[in-house]
């Protein structure tokens, strides 16, 4: 067992480790489960209690994404250094590039979140039909070298075509065949935000992608910070690799200072 795991088990948290949760939602209710923590300030307090230094928050669950991005902007304005914002974008609702521009320049966000749940059986057209809009967005993100946290939809062609855009596959640590297929793209990453993380999944992911491309994430407030730390800490990684996964990789992608 690593010294970091021992410290966590002893209730001491991870005081000398930079811990950044790359996959966090604005705290809110949600149809598919009872979410006890519906207040983002309360979520931040719980994160601190589990030894988490910063949350990378997106607003993709709230259906009005302009408003959701404003809420994320307000949260990070109140919590500089503890919250990093990702702009939730959706081609049905907005000019995605203009919204990314607004979120980055006016609200201080540092990346983008895309979620396939915004494409439903009622959608007027599929996401993939917005070809020019995606081209413009990825060109803009490529200039900024801004990361994209994606759940579904992003294709191998996109990852290959935009090598300066770091793509982070949400919940991707459990998708071994996906990691095997996409490992050859240095801008492909995965996070650990999955409920069915099998024992050893972080070792497998690091074996396929190297420690630089696996990021710790939780899906909070839908999932628990300490629980997800256990997924990473009960691995065979050496401490430098653990530190990369737990926070340094996120800091690098987001342009934040690392320690």
């Amino acid at each position: 067992m690593s010294l970091l795991a021992k410290a966590m088990l002893a209730g001491k948290g991870l005081p000398d480790v930079l811990v950044i949760d790359f996959h966090v939602h604005l705290a809110s209710k949600w149809n598919t489960m009872n979410v006890p923590v519906c207040d983002s300030d309360e979520m931040l307090r719980l994160a601190k209690g589990a030894g988490v230094d910063a949350l990378v928050v997106n607003g993709c669950i709230w259906p009005d994404l302009h408003q959701a991005n404003d809420m994320v902007g307000a949260l990070l304005a109140r919590n500089r250094g503890k919250v990093v914002g990702l702009a939730a974008l959706n081609p049905h609702q907005m000019d995605m590039t203009a919204e990314a521009h607004r979120c980055f320049d006016e609200l201080g966000m540092r990346g983008v979140k895309l979620h396939i749940m915004h494409q439903t059986y009622h959608s007027p057209r599929p996401f993939s039909s917005y070809g020019r809009e995606w081209e413009r967005l990825f060109a803009y993100l490529s200039e900024r070298r801004a990361p994209v946290l994606y759940h579904g939809f992003v294709t191998e062609e996109m990852i290959s075509a935009w090598p300066d855009v770091p793509f982070v596959c949400a919940h991707g640590v459990g998708d071994v065949s996906g990691m095997e297929r996409l490992a050859r793209y240095p801008n492909f990453h995965v996070d650990t935000a999955a409920t069915q993380n099998v024992a050893g999944c972080v070792d497998v992911a690091v074996g396929l992608l190297d420690p630089e491309r696996v990021l710790w994430g939780t899906d909070a407030p839908l999932d628990d910070f300490a629980q997800r730390l256990g997924v990473v800490l009960d691995s065979h990684l050496e401490e430098p690799a653990l530190r990369q996964v737990l926070g340094r990789n996120a800091a690098r992608l987001l342009g934040l200072p690392a320690r």
């Binding site: 067992m1 795991a5 021992k6 966590m8 088990l9 002893a10 209730g11 598919t32 489960m33 009872n34 979410v35 006890p36 923590v37 309360e42 979520m43 719980l46 209690g49 589990a50 409920t195 069915q196 993380n197 099998v198 024992a199 050893g200 497998v204 939780t218 909070a220 407030p221 839908l222 999932d223 628990d224 910070f225 300490a226 629980q227 997800r228 730390l229 256990g230 997924v231 800490l233 009960d234």
Partner: protein
């Protein structure tokens, strides 16, 4: 000692299974080594054979490979007896008495002996378990497989049979879990599938600390994840001790074979 809690793992498995990760030791020694590493005091392993192959052969494997001890309380896989593939309830109880088994596990998987809680089949079995206060861990492969309509007749009809529910993931399920917890005292939930932030504290505030049990879902999950979830939850130390193991110890102690 790395933490002050005496964990008792009600949900773990040993023995061969189809898809172990490379290097995984599925023997009892492998489980005990993991318990020693993380500081888990006791465990109730079932045999994964009961899920993937045959319930009674799983129990025979467990008898041969994981006899009861101070730290190991074997959990037999249970099934219905009508086809003759599994002993009738009274024979099962006699064998449990003989072998010191105090916890049963029912796998509800599409590829297991039973794919759903088909209540008419289980009446005689539940009569016997309730008579002897034997806890039954119901391991469901699909979070949306069970509903209040499936479970209420069981916990209402056999109030002396503690029912421990294990779900791979808790999603809409809490809507009916709260309904059932408001009405019945013999329904418990184990933790590995219940991963929501602040969830332990929310359930404890509403129903007290007696409804949740520590389990790991080892070897499929690392036991550490649920341990940390409990250690860092915002409930008092007495409640943590109950969830970590004291409630499960009480349930095992109350078995009358």
């Amino acid at each position: 000692m790395t933490h002050p809690l005496r964990f008792l793992d009600v949900n773990c498995c040993i023995g061969p299974y189809y898809d172990p990760p490379e290097g995984h030791d599925w023997s009892l020694a492998g489980l005990v080594a993991k318990m020693d590493e993380l500081g888990i005091a006791e465990a109730c392993p079932a045999a994964t054979l009961g899920r993937d192959y045959d319930p009674w052969q799983a129990n025979e494997w467990l008898l041969a490979n994981a006899p009861p001890s101070a730290r190991i309380h074997p959990a037999w896989t249970v099934a219905t007896h009508h086809t003759g593939e599994f002993p009738p309830p009274q024979e099962l109880v006699a064998a449990m008495r003989r072998e010191g088994v105090r916890l049963l596990r029912l796998f509800l998987f599409s590829t297991a002996f039973h794919d759903r809680l088909d209540l008419p089949l289980f009446g005689e079995l539940f009569d016997a378990l309730a008579e002897h206060r034997v806890p039954l861990l119901v391991d469901s492969s699909d979070p949306l497989q069970l509903h209040a309509a499936d479970l209420e007749p069981v916990i209402e009809g056999w109030p002396d049979m503690p029912l421990i529910l294990s779900l791979p993931k808790v999603v809409q399920n809490e809507r009916w879990l709260y309904y059932l917890w408001e009405r019945y005292g013999n329904l418990y939930l184990d933790l590995p599938g219940y991963q929501v932030l602040g969830g332990i504290a929310a359930i404890v505030r509403r129903f007290g600390g007696g409804r949740l049990l520590y389990g790991s879902r080892y070897p499929f999950f690392t036991p550490l994840q649920t341990m940390l979830q409990l250690i860092y939850s915002e409930v008092d130390d007495t409640v943590k001790r109950d969830i970590a193991g004291d409630t499960a110890r009480r349930l095992l102690r109350e078995v009358r074979l």
